[in-house]
Symmetry: none
Subunit: 208 residues, 4 copies
């Protein structure tokens, strides 16, 4: 039997999932609170028992989405073994894989970007994104630095730069895939990472 608090959390989560689908499809402005209530099969008024406002709900969706993708990334990273090159390749692969699983929610990311660009919620979103990107770059840079320390990668490599570009490419390839159904982001990422690894390795042939 669930405590009342757990009940509440469950319902909150339920609403967030419903809202995520609707926001993904129609965008923040295009979404009506009534839409969300309908999708969650609850009354419009009930939404306000769980969230203060539309913005609050949207931000809650953002937090949920961020937690999900972070969790996925952490799993990817923690499960790594082998050389830095291998681990980098596997990380790229598994990040892409896990994001592709949520592909239909990718439009949410675009909405979040836009929200951090110019909405009234700008600050909250922007701060969160800054931190998230920084964290992610740091993790990847650490991996690269490790590879440099092990002599896998050349000393002229700037870990932060390559990390930023790699992290960025994961976003950007999904973005391009979103615009174009015929675009294959997985293969593209694989090929690109292989080149980057070989580049970092100094041009030496790399076995993955």
């Amino acid at each position: 039997m669930l405590s009342s608090e757990q009940q509440k959390q469950r319902k909150r989560a339920h609403i967030i999932h419903a809202a995520a689908r609707v926001f993904a499809e129609k965008g923040f402005s295009g979404t009506m609170m009534a839409d969300i209530a309908d999708h969650a099969r609850i009354g419009k008024g009930t939404l306000y028992e769980y969230f203060d406002s539309k913005e609050d709900l949207f931000f809650s969706v953002f937090e949920w989405y961020a937690r999900e993708t972070e969790a996925a990334a952490k799993v990817s990273i923690s499960a790594l073994g082998g050389s830095a090159s291998e681990r980098l390749a596997i990380l790229s692969e598994s990040v892409m894989q896990s994001w592709l699983k949520m592909k239909d929610l990718f439009t949410l990311v675009m909405e979040f970007w836009a929200a951090s660009a110019s909405s009234q919620m700008r600050k909250r979103f922007k701060g969160y994104f800054r931190q998230a990107y920084e964290d992610f770059r740091t993790v990847v840079a650490a991996l690269i630095r490790e590879g440099m320390q092990h002599g896998e990668f050349q000393e002229d490599v700037v870990p932060e730069s390559v990390a930023a570009a790699l992290v960025g490419s994961w976003d950007a390839l999904l973005l391009q895939a979103w615009f174009d159904d015929r675009f294959d982001p997985l293969t593209t990422a694989r090929n690109h990472v292989a080149i980057v690894i070989r580049g970092m390795a100094g041009g030496a042939r790399v076995e993955l």
Copy 2:
């Protein structure tokens, strides 16, 4: 003395510039037509002499922005000389440079992405973006392929993949720079491109 048609075009452009500033600052939904009229120092009704609707104006801003960035990219490409590696590095540099010049309008791009994700204008935006990315990838891939034909780059390189990642990294690094003032996208791009070029070159040392 200007012809009436030229006058009209001038004023249209004037409104588009004003609108671009306001949309960039407040986003599509956050912007009121009255804001734009004020910024353009014209009456609210005058906007409708030049544009059918808020959406039409927004899309016109998009077209203008797209033309501007395209033009900048074309200049970069046409002015290239030297080896494929050099030309790639210069292209990257100049694309980043020219986009950075419009940095304060970068939020527009996020708005455009969001618009193609879920607004009612989705189709128009999405189609345009798909084409633009494809065109850009094609140009860059051609450059890489050239490098392969000249023996600069290894035969195992997949030009389309690297092109997509490069194009994507330009977007993505600007995005990260937008979130974080301390992030330097120019240097990052330079470092990344160098690695990619060395990766494509295989064993060959590359002079940039």
Copy 3:
């Protein structure tokens, strides 16, 4: 206690009555939705819970008005007894009487005519009017034909023509009364019907 559906119908009717008064006074274009809301003592937004648009509300007022006058006419007709002449005279009398009761809403009819003449709602109104006039003419013509079969009226009478003129005169006399306070449509109608009946009866003296 009323069911929710009944409640809704009641409120709808309430709004229609309020709207009828305002439309009657200011006409379709002269009426603002806010006026109607004020008169109905509800919020502006509430109107849209019950009607899709101003036009929809206007047409609903029309339907209500048409139902009311139709109902009145049907009562008049069904309650008839006696000779065709008597019934015709009584019908005329009671139609005029019942329409005079709604005299202050007669301007609505003029608005409806105008709406069927040239508004965007033209088709809906026009079709309805065509049918209503046809139905009414048919009923009156049947009455006249009956009189002909009973030998009350001459054989050279064209029932449809007289019916159309009688039905028309009811409209037209109210119209003239509307323009001129000193004009007495009831007496006028009575005198006219008497003449028409005598005319249809040919040589026969008619007792009313």
Copy 4:
């Protein structure tokens, strides 16, 4: 060669004709000053050289229309000869004929009615209509009274009532014809007038 004043009057009339067509098609509210200017092949601003406002122009159209129909009616009346019955029948016929000629402008009448019902111009229109109907009734009543004096019509006839009904029937039959293409107002009017004349004559057979 025309004087400047005549020039002005000509152009004024030209605008009125153009406006009449547009108002007839779209109604007062549905008509835009720009529409009228286009139809008159003049600039929007020019309209205001000739008319103070949209309402002024509309009323001018009304005056023109009223003058036209009055003139037609006067011609009908003045040309009459023969018995009162004959003259009445001919009057009816020629009024209907002349109005049918302007059939495509009949919607204007509905607009005028509506304008006198509830527009801001109500008073001007209403007063004019009151007078016009009164005048018309007076003319027809005089004709009937003449017939009574000559012994053509019975003494129990109330000339004003029959006149009102006849005048009304001309309006009303055109109205019904407007709603229903299959309705023949001319024949209907003929048949009705014949009955009315016979009724006034006391049921005696009347030769027309």
